[in-house]
């Protein structure tokens, strides 16, 4: 097992290196660079900029170095924790990013939990009672859940919150707590606001996981070893809990692998609609204003989160399935 962990962790490194190259390329992709963007902004404000100032700026950002050198400097700084400087906010990226990453992580994680808690039992129920009324009901709900884009769901949630409860859904805190220091009341306020983004974000994944779970379990229920166990006289409830569910759990754990990127993706857009203080809105703004250090850092960190999530899912999988760890 230890061997497997080591191998798997080592395999992450080249992946991350490649991701960083892609992210760097993305940062460089838009026409122009930081200095020209800054100049545009300054000139729009009517500030005169001299050639020497431009030179100084270019030198400050090492823009005249060859690309590979720039890449190495960027990734080197990144590894030492210096994420660069946001032009638009005129602040180091570090001061902007971590709170938001934290909330993104929180919402993603709570959605993941929500997805599992809801999808697991429903999936089992649907498979065991295949073609029952409940199975059909959940199949329909699942179909719709997969098809409704989550930004639409977010709008609908706000609409429902406003027109039925007269509350404005959105944000993670009530106005009085936004800048308040941490306290139990603030945590409570956070939890009270958290459930809507959690459900909105988790809906599609829940629907998909439900269907995956049902299909897997149906497959497993037909396997010969289940017949063997039944021929042994094992009772139905114990049988279902012990065998197929146990095995369907594996693909279930592996859902982290695809759920996590989906959730992180979805979080970006849901956060924009619901106006959450997470990475999504800032990422969008940084992309629109070509604040590429900020955008690059977000992309890199979100990818890192995904890669680590997949690592965890692989390790859990190896723990759950003896065949994998002996491979």
């Amino acid at each position: 097992m230890l061997n497997y962990v080591r191998r798997r962790v080592l395999a992450m490194i080249p992946t991350l290196a490649l991701i960083s190259v892609i992210v760097f390329a993305l940062v460089q992709l838009p026409p122009g660079d930081i200095v020209s963007a800054t100049l545009d902004r300054l000139q729009a404000q009517g500030v005169e900029v001299s050639d020497t100032q431009i030179e100084a700026l270019r030198a400050q950002y090492h823009l005249d170095d060859p690309m590979p050198v720039q890449y190495l400097r960027w990734i080197g700084n990144f590894l030492t924790g210096d994420l660069g400087y946001s032009i638009a906010y005129e602040q180091p990226v570090n001061t902007l990013i971590w709170d938001r990453m934290g909330y993104t992580l929180l919402i993603t994680f709570s959605s993941l939990l929500f997805t599992w808690i809801v999808a697991l039992p429903i999936g089992i129920y649907s498979a065991v009672r295949q073609y029952s009324l409940g199975d059909y009901f959940f199949t329909v709900v699942g179909l719709i859940g997969v098809a409704v884009p989550n930004f639409l769901l977010a709008i609908l949630a706000m609409y429902a919150g406003f027109s039925w409860f007269g509350i404005s859904v959105g944000g993670l805190f009530s106005p009085e707590y936004i800048d308040a220091p941490w306290s139990w009341a603030r945590v409570g306020d956070l939890i009270a606001h958290l459930w809507i983004p959690t459900i909105v974000l988790g809906a599609a994944g829940t629907a998909a996981t439900m269907r995956v779970m049902r299909a897997n379990l149906l497959d497993e229920l037909k396997k010969p070893y289940v017949v063997t166990a039944r021929a042994k006289g094992v009772r139905p409830v114990k049988l279902i809990l012990k065998y197929p569910v146990r095995i369907a759990i594996n693909p279930f754990i592996s859902t982290i692998g695809w759920l996590l990127p989906t959730l992180i993706s979805g979080e970006a857009i849901v956060a924009i609609v619901l106006n959450l203080p997470t990475t999504g809105p800032l990422l969008l703004q940084s992309l629109l204003s070509q604040d590429m250090y900020l955008a690059g850092s977000f992309l890199m960190l979100l990818s890192l989160m995904t890669v680590i999530g997949m690592l965890i899912s692989d390790l859990l999988l190896a723990w759950a399935d003896p065949r994998i760890r002996y491979e």
């Binding site: 070893y225 006289g233 094992v234 139905p236 095995i247 399935d321």
Partner: protein
């Protein structure tokens, strides 16, 4: 003869498929004699496995038992119709694995890949007997050693994928024996194994049968195996029983044209230099197309042939 341990009467099983309903068993009637090994012979699709599953009440959708009865009579005197047992009836679960156990065709898939061998063998015991874990473990080790698994204690904590096919089949056999059932159903237990392992497993089954005095129902398509292991034989074809009798009677003196064809198609009976013959060469289709019910002959044998045309294989006639 004493009461048969299992008496199957007019069993009908259907399967719903996309293109219509398939009749997997048609009016199957069969007795399994207590303490003897009955071989069920037939080609793929003749209904052998369906019969076996029905005996454990394991026919599920898309399959359906539409008629008939399967009466089981234990040595203690209890008797019931397996098909009439309610899903909640404790006797059903005692029947499965307790009174009757089953050894499957595919040792590679018959064991759960994510549970240890020990877990699965002990489960069979723990399901049926009120013993503690340690007793169950000791019993599992004893059984595994009995079926020829070395270092059984160490191997309890291993997973099926760490076992070869032959070893897995031994595990399945141990699992089937651990409750000392009165009847063991072997569904082509050696088909998926290579020939040397096959011989070992057959010898093992024979020994175990003698030791525990169980009745055995042995499903196979291999006449050679039948000769080696069985006392009685039933020949099945397309969901029907064509004839029954003792091994000696059926192999020496087959009554039904199909059985004769089956025997004639054996490689051993072909003359050197001629092509091997297939069933289709040997049996005319009209001889198989009939829906004649089984008929009991004075000798005690049964055959699905019309009475007015005594077959050539009747005692007195010669081939």
């Amino acid at each position: 003869m004493s009461e048969p341990i299992v008496r199957i009467r007019d069993l009908e099983v259907e399967f719903a498929t996309e293109v219509g309903v398939t009749r997997a068993l048609r009016s199957v009637s069969l007795d399994l004699a207590r303490g003897r090994t009955t071989a069920i012979v037939g080609e793929s699709g003749s209904g052998k496995s369906v019969t076996a599953l029905a005996m454990l009440g394991l026919i599920d959708a898309p399959g359906r038992v539409t008629a008939g009865s399967i009466e089981f009579r234990s040595s203690a005197g209890a008797a019931y119709d397996v098909l009439r047992l309610d899903r909640r009836d404790p006797r059903l679960y005692q029947h499965r694995g307790g009174s009757v156990s089953m050894i499957f065709q595919e040792p590679m898939t018959a064991l759960s890949p994510v549970h240890t061998i020990g877990n699965q063998v002990m489960e069979a015991l723990l399901t049926h007997q009120a013993v503690d874990n340690e007793t169950a473990q000791a019993e599992a080790i004893r059984l595994l050693e009995r079926v020829g698994i070395a270092y059984a204690e160490a191997r309890l904590s291993q997973y099926p994928f760490e076992f070869s096919g032959g070893m897995r089949q031994r595990v399945v056999i141990a699992m089937a024996l651990i409750n000392q059932p009165e009847l063991i159903i072997c569904d082509e237990p050696t088909t998926a194994l290579d020939v040397t392992v096959q011989a070992e497993i057959l010898t093992l089954l024979d020994e175990l049968k003698a030791q525990y005095a169980t009745s055995v129902m042995f499903i196979t398509h291999d006449i050679g195996v039948v000769a080696q292991i069985a006392d009685d034989v039933a020949v099945m074809y397309r969901g029907r029983v064509l004839e029954t009798g003792t091994v000696r009677e059926v192999l020496k003196d087959p009554l039904h044209p199909y059985t004769r064809g089956l025997l004639a198609a054996l490689p051993g009976s072909a003359t050197r230099g001629t092509r091997l013959q297939t069933i289709d060469d040997l049996v005319a289709p009209e001889e198989l197309a009939t829906d004649t019910p089984l008929r009991r002959l004075p000798s005690g044998r049964q055959v699905a042939l019309p009475a007015e045309a005594p077959p050539i294989g009747q005692p007195g006639a010669s081939t």
